[in-house]
Point group: C2
Chain length 280, copies 2
């Protein structure tokens, strides 16, 4: 849903993994992130999934930067194995080298020590595969992972921020909530969104829909949608009215204006409003 | 998963809908399509989700065409309402006009007549909103929708085929199975994929993983992955060996070659193969 005239911090979500492209794995991370980010007022403009391939990852990131997105959030491809290539892709997109990040190495060391102490793994030894997870694009910062071994990564490129999260959902949730969301809360432009629903009877949807579209084109910052329903032979229409603005007062005024116009249209068509309620 | 040296028909899946970008709806269509297409031997190179915006849709399609994909499959945005904009986006990307397609109109007419006869809707009248679904990019063909009102659409642009499917899952499944898959079965290059799994004990993953990577780099058309597992304090590694080729015999020879190399490596590391089995 997009509201003309509203200024929002923009996001793109890039998911990395052949297992998603092959249809083996359902990507639920993008929806989870989108819901949280939308809740903060962010605008997700695009989601992209590419495979575990340095060139594909780097192209996807470069394209998002070219579209001047404020934030790129990646998920997947941060692990210790050969086919975890996200940081190589990010480094290539930004034209930077991967360098050993001491803080990331410290986090990884600490995690493996704890895993070895609790008997989950045999040795806390920092093998090349484990050290690989501490090789970050120059200038990037690690984000602490409390439930897995691969730290998240935060990098900046011009006006675009890039946050890389692991693909394992519970690791992604943890890093997002503990490390990334506190940053986003400060940086994402506030959006106020108010909503009203009407249940309309006695008007055919084909008559109401074009009039609803007309109101939407006339009032800035609002969104209207008619959802035709029918139950037990009686056809009814659910009309959703949403208004949004960077200030609460503006959003509320826009909603009242749109609501008045919707009611006028319904009356002029001799329709009946059987219910009026606020949105979630 | 990608196998060097294997020639595959390439696909991109483009999903259209603000409800996905906003995190309200989980996109399950892409996974469903990916699984089916992968099963036919197709290679999905990228998935993209954009909003219900003509420019965004048209950009996403043009980018996929520029990447010389063989097939673009879109889902969503084919319905009767103002914010269903997929066909406008496709028309713009291809530089064609939307024209009334008689066959599409006939399909839509038939569906609304049946819905009116069964009492689901009041009138089978072809309103502008309903006629809109028969406005196809010039030269495109409709794909019959047996469970909803919006036909799917098939268009060609140079060497790229574009198939547009509705976003409602059961409508997408129906059009895919009855209309699109029969075409894909003829057009998609065959791929044979064979698989073997080993359960390996007594070798640390950190030692085995780099040797596995080495084999993968040496034998074309194969894919190896080690999955570390631990159960009841005993750490074990599941090693997956996959070989693929456009001919079955080649795939089988590649698999045997990779399997022999994997066994040699495990023996040289004094590991134990506790189980060897074929893949699903």
């Amino acid at each position: 849903m997009r509201y003309p005239g509203l200024r929002q911090t923009t996001f793109e979500i890039i998911t990395i993994g052949y297992e998603i492209l092959d249809g083996r794995t359902l990507d639920t991370n993008s929806k989870w992130l989108a819901e949280r980010i939308t809740g903060l007022g962010g605008l997700i403009r695009r989601m992209t999934t590419v495979g575990d391939d340095v060139d594909e990852i780097s192209s996807a990131i470069r394209e998002a930067i070219r579209r001047k997105t404020d934030w790129i959030i990646t998920s997947g491809g941060l692990g210790p194995t050969y086919d975890d290539k996200t940081l190589q892709g990010v480094a290539k997109a930004l034209g930077r080298r991967l360098v050993l990040n001491r803080r990331a190495l410290g986090m990884i060391e600490e995690r493996y020590r704890a895993l070895a102490e609790s008997g989950v793994i045999d040795s806390p030894e920092l093998t090349p595969h484990r050290i690989k997870m501490a090789m970050l694009p120059r200038g990037a910062k690690p984000l602490r992972n409390d439930v897995g071994t691969a730290p998240g990564v935060l990098a900046r490129h011009g006006k675009t921020m890039i946050a890389c999260l692991p693909g394992v959902p519970r690791e992604l949730y943890s890093i997002y909530e503990k490390e990334l969301e506190p940053i986003l809360r400060k940086k994402v432009r506030k959006v106020y969104r108010v909503e009203r629903w009407f249940t309309v009877l006695k008007v055919p949807e084909s008559t109401l829909a074009p009039r609803i579209d007309e109101i939407m084109r006339r009032v800035p910052g609002i969104y209207l949608k008619s959802h035709p329903k029918s139950a037990e032979g009686v056809s009814r229409i659910e009309v959703q009215v949403i208004a949004a603005a960077n200030r609460r007062g503006v959003a509320e005024r826009r909603l009242e204006k749109a609501v008045a116009l919707v009611k006028k249209v319904i009356r002029s068509l001799e329709g009946i409003i059987s219910e009026e309620r606020a949105g979630e």
